[in-house]
Symmetry: C2
Subunit: 204 residues, 2 copies
């Protein structure tokens, strides 16, 4: 019984170390996915990025698909957070700009330019449904901000569904051209995208 | 000699019939790619869409990759044409709106919403380089139109490279959500995208 308790509850220090390691694995995986694509990436590639053997990964994740799923969860968690932050802002203009700016930062910093949005079909049934449901919720909230801006006459009369898809396309496509080592950093890219994509809706 | 001449030059009627059949195969392939994705699509799937046997396709294309390549060539040919048309227009605003409108139409009508831009890595070396070179030329011409608009004070001072990538992302992403059977048709979608994406650059 004592041994069992020990096994289920590691010390805070060990827990912290494990959390850190887990994050390092996810980030090594994101880098590998960006460079080789998800399908071509092996667990050996991910281990290579960390300078460890493949077997070391099995303490944290049973397989590559679980790693992909956890990367999605991390990114969707950040999306949820940025939507909550946006709700604190007064105008639809500010809310939309915040969402665009922060979503770009998730793409460039959290995901390191990895094309996660393109890899949803690689997830198995239940996990795929979960990710799609979270993505659909995000799309609806984005449309809601745009509709609200139209109602309050901050934005022109547009089809909010199309505008939301155009915004998501512009942001998701970043994975196709972004170079983490390049001169353009996430914050600057986010500001310029927000400026352009909110600008197209504004009543000026 | 006579037989040889006959073999190398079919009658105009036969030529026309072959061209038509060739186009039908490309369009059946695009539909299949949209529904199942390029990698999961087999030559049997493409033949099924046409109601013929797989062997009938071999008279036209040796393999699936060649079909993908020819779909790219068809779409790049249209892009080239729409850029030539745009050059006839007076202002950068009109040129950019034309390019966006017509590129959206290529996505929805010529490509039937098929995610061709996502399948470039599936092409073999020489073909992949050709398609990437053509795509790079297109990106440069798009930037050129935006830079011209900035110079002529039609557009605000923006990073034309980022704006071009945002536009291409919005358009390429259409393949991820467009339903050819849905209520929204290509022309209407193209107009709304042009309105939104040119609007974000305009000095109003």
């Amino acid at each position: 019984m004592k041994a069992n308790a020990k096994q289920t509850k590691p010390s805070p220090h060990v827990q912290k170390k494990r959390r850190k390691r887990r994050e390092e694995i996810l980030h090594a995986a994101l880098r590998a996915f960006r460079i080789k694509g998800y399908h071509a990436t092996t667990l050996d590639d991910i281990a290579d990025h960390l300078g460890v053997r493949k077997t070391a990964l099995y303490h944290y994740f049973p397989d590559k698909e679980t790693i992909l799923y956890e990367c999605h969860r991390e990114s969707l968690g950040e999306i949820k957070r940025l939507l909550t932050e946006a709700q604190e802002l007064e105008s639809a203009t500010e809310r939309l700009a915040h969402v665009i700016r922060e979503h770009v930062r998730v793409m460039t910093d959290t995901l390191e330019g990895s094309p996660l949005a393109f890899e949803v079909p690689a997830l198995s049934g239940r996990r795929q449904s979960q990710v799609i449901a979270a993505r659909d919720r995000y799309e609806r909230e984005l449309r809601q901000i745009i509709d609200d801006g139209i109602k309050k006459k901050e934005f022109r009369q547009v089809d909010s569904k199309l505008a939301a898809f155009a915004i998501l396309g512009a942001i998701n496509w970043i994975a196709r051209w972004y170079q983490p080592e390049g001169p353009l950093q996430g914050a600057e890219l986010g500001s310029q995208f927000a400026d352009y994509l909110v600008g197209g809706l504004s009543c000026r």
